[in-house]
């Protein structure tokens, strides 16, 4: 009879042997010039020098697969188990450091019908530049009216760590569910940040250099509380749109939902004094999506000219009837941070003249480019499969589509990393319904490279994950306020802001 101690030793050694054994690329194989089908698709993408391993699944009808990664200089590692390529984090760091500025060659082998096949090798290029180490997003099921179990989360891009910034679950009840949205930061830092809570315990959560407060941005002189925000990069003011938003449902169209504003304006909020003032409130214009330039001297925004014709109809009804007539253009407005005064508005992109609608502008921190979403009409492009990201050269005014970033599904909510080298977009290319973060390298010459999907530890994660990634935002540091701290402030009554007329 085996003594217990011996048994333990045998088990330990067996375990150690199993854990040390690693897959090996086959010595003999058939070559094919076909690229392997992998998910997510990381073939020929350019990745940041500090990103976590891009694990992927090989979809070649067999679970017997391996992939060999070879960096310049010959450093090579092979992985593969049960149809998945799961890369060791430390070894990936070695590979990407060795390949910085060049590429890692990836050879994928699959055992099909008792024979190994080597697919056409591809590269994963490693850029010289890092990416901001964190992003945040709202995880929400792409539902239309119900909002339960929504969380704003942050993800460390250098590994797979993810944590809640705020979840509506502790305060969300059947009778007073709470929608949370529009997380936003000043200059990629989290010491100044905000997000909104609607319905139950409603208000806007403002974090301002260590103090947290909940404010009600609705005044008698404004359309609504603040909606789409943009925190000024230097001084402590926030531009918001105020919107009367409605949604209705397509009976047949694949877009499924239409979200429209019947009225919208722009306001400026000062967190120091808790005052709001009007930036733009033309009753025949639908102003929305404010965005500051990096130097803080220009406010970009979108506006659609829309005049209601039929007084006998409710605005909502007329908007539903004429929703395809709403075309947003891009505007710029000068701003003097010292006097906090705005100059006149200048139209910088006339999408309406093209029969199109431009939304969600974001400016690169180096001040050279502006990205935005362009679709046939409307403002809520996440539900528009034709929505694509466009790039405007702010020096020449030239606009071109970022083909390498776009797909035949919706791309919306673009944003630049703090070093202007990475563009992230919320894309529905995986399945048309669930939004995923896609990131593209944007080189110094203004060229975009093939986008890659945010890597996950489990390559099949996105297949089984039934929530969208809304409003992906870059951050240079994690949010330090805990969800519990936010919850305790959320329980308090919001402070009413005051309206300051011009």
């Amino acid at each position: 009879m085996i003594h217990l101690r011996n048994l333990a030793l045998i088990l330990t050694l067996t375990g150690a042997f199993i854990s040390c054994s690693r897959p090996k690329a086959p010595d003999t194989y058939i070559e094919t010039q076909e690229l392997p089908v992998i998910r997510p698709d990381y073939a020929e993408v350019t990745m940041p020098a500090n990103i976590c391993p891009p694990n992927f699944a090989v979809l070649q009808g067999t679970r017997n697969v391996v992939a060999r990664f070879t960096a310049p200089g010959g450093l090579s590692y092979t992985y593969g188990e049960d149809g998945k390529i799961i890369i060791d984090e430390d070894e990936w760091a070695e590979l990407r450091n060795a390949a910085k500025g060049s590429g890692i060659a990836v050879e994928v082998f699959a055992k099909v019908s008792e024979e190994w096949v080597r697919f056409k090798p591809f590269n994963i290029y490693i850029a010289e530049e890092d990416i901001d180490p964190y992003i945040s997003y709202r995880n929400i099921q792409p539902s239309y009216v119900a909002f339960e179990n929504i969380a704003i989360r942050q993800r460390n891009l250098t590994n797979y760590d993810e944590s809640d910034i705020y979840s509506n679950m502790p305060l969300s009840t059947e009778k007073s569910g709470q929608c949370i949205n529009c997380h936003s930061y000043q200059n990629y830092k989290t010491s100044r940040m905000l997000f909104h809570m609607r319905q139950g315990y409603g208000g806007t959560m403002i974090v301002d250099e260590g103090t947290i407060k909940k404010v009600d941005l609705k005044t008698d002189s404004t359309i609504s509380a603040g909606v789409y925000p943009s925190w000024h990069p230097q001084i402590n003011v926030i531009a918001f749109s105020t919107n009367n938003t409605g949604q209705s449902f397509h009976t047949k169209d694949i877009r499924k939902i239409e979200v429209q504003d019947t009225r919208s304006d722009l306001i400026l909020y000062d967190p120091q004094t808790d005052e709001v003032s009007i930036i733009e409130n033309d009753s025949n214009e639908l102003e929305v999506f404010p965005c500051w330039s990096a130097d803080g001297k220009t406010l970009y925004y979108c506006s659609a000219h829309f005049e209601y014709h039929n007084d006998s109809l409710a605005k909502e009804t007329e908007m539903i009837q004429r929703y395809k007539e709403v075309h947003y253009n891009l505007y710029a407005k000068s701003f003097d941070p010292k006097t906090r005064t705005f100059g006149p508005s200048i139209k910088i992109f006339n999408a309406d003249s093209l029969g199109l609608s431009a939304t969600l502008p974001r400016v690169s921190p180096d001040g050279k480019y502006l990205v935005f979403s362009l679709a046939e009409f409307g403002c809520f492009h996440v539900w528009h499969p034709d929505a694509d990201i466009q790039l405007m050269d702010l020096k020449t005014g030239e606009v071109r589509p970022l083909t390498e970033l776009n797909s035949n599904q919706s791309e919306s909510y673009p944003s630049f990393s703090s070093n202007s080298r990475w563009i992230m977009t919320a894309s529905r290319r995986d399945d048309g319904n669930y939004t995923r973060p896609y990131i593209s390298y944007f080189d110094k010459n203004g060229q975009c490279h093939k986008a890659f999907e945010l890597p996950q530890r489990d390559p099949n994660f996105y297949t089984f994950f039934l929530r969208s990634y809304n409003r992906p935002e870059f951050m240079v540091e994690p949010v330090k306020v805990t969800p519990q701290e936010f919850v305790s402030i959320a329980r308090e009554d919001p402070k009413k802001v005051t309206f300051k007329s011009k």
Partner: protein
Amino acid sequence: MREVISERGGLWAWIGCWLTQFFYYPWIGAAILILLWLITYYCLISLFSLKGWARLFALLPQCALLYLLLCLGYWIYYIKSAGIAFVPTLVLLYASFLALITDYLIRRFLHHARWWQPYLLFLLSFISARPVLKIYSVTMPEKSFYSELRMYRAVEEGRWKDIISEHHAIAQPTNLMVVYKNIALMHTDKLQDMFKTNNCGSVPAPITRLMPADTLQIHISRLAAPMIYFQYGQLNYAYERAMSNIVKYGLTARDIKVMTRCAIMNQEFDLARKYISLLKASIFHHQWANQQERFIYSSTLLMQSDEFKNIAPLLTDEPDNLDSDNGMCEQWILNHFADLLHPSNPKLEEVIITTSLWAKDEYAFDVHFYNYVNAHPNDAIPQLYQETAILLCTREDSPITLDHFPFDNFIADRYNRFVKDYNQLSAQRLSDTEMSKRLHAVYGDSYWWYYYFYTDFNLY
């Protein structure tokens, strides 16, 4: 999993959810539940050292749990506690087992035994499970609940005759049963029998918790809207309702299945693959998922399948509209089809006309009737349409004149008899209920009876 487990009592919810899937075959789910109850029973009699007849006390918790399950009824659609069928049992099992082990260890090693020790340990173990305690109603559910469950499963599996049989066996169907019945008639090309089969739905009684303030009305939208919309070819709304159900009440295979079907019919194949992957990972739905996957790769197979070929004609060529059902599924279906013009095929044409009759939308019928007779100048007018035209042409503002159409004399004669009988009973000053009963015996299969005596048409 992480999300569920991080909640209070989340571990039990997760295990409960996992075990719930075995109710796909009710006998397996029931067998697992009974097994867990037996283990709990033996734990309790050991813990409290029950002997003889006193052992019956150890069965009380299981009886209470069984009664709770039997009383759930329509609450099953509204309770947000995941894995409700198993969670109380799992908590009881955990508490009794943990208390039993702890009691044994204390007696064995500390040589400490007091009469109150098992009771205290059981209480502490129960608290340590961190259960979420909720109180629900203690009234037995109506029969309609079980019939609706059976009918839903039959709709899902395309067993149309079973639906009609189930409906036929119920004296007082609910609106939802009527909807299911009409879907079955639609699939078996028997919509002309809509009023020959009982089309008078009722509203199930509201369900209440112990507190009257928590009375909850039952809504068709929650019970079956995704499947109803799908069967009527309203793919976007079916998808939307299924998604809303998942958000509000948690992921279920039945909602995912509707979403899969919608994605396939909408040719959103990447989306369909996603849901199929989910279902393939389940124990009981992978076969269904494999079957659906074939449709992604062959549109011919799809259009020839029993499941889809009857729905395809309902995918109208009407323009897209922006609309909302405001949570009223049945009302939206009735209004939508009654308002549709220019049907492109006979199936849709029949659905449109019969729906306008179902909704008693006289003006819609006028339009559809004229469209029908103009589109079919050489065809006989179906008896149901003739019955309705004869009835409605007597309206002052009716555009229908009988002279222009080839009506069957026997229908006109029967209608005259109906009017005569009606007037005679009215003259006797009978109550509406009595008149309804007496005329039903002779004219219950006609639209006239439905039109005059089904006055309690409440949508929910």
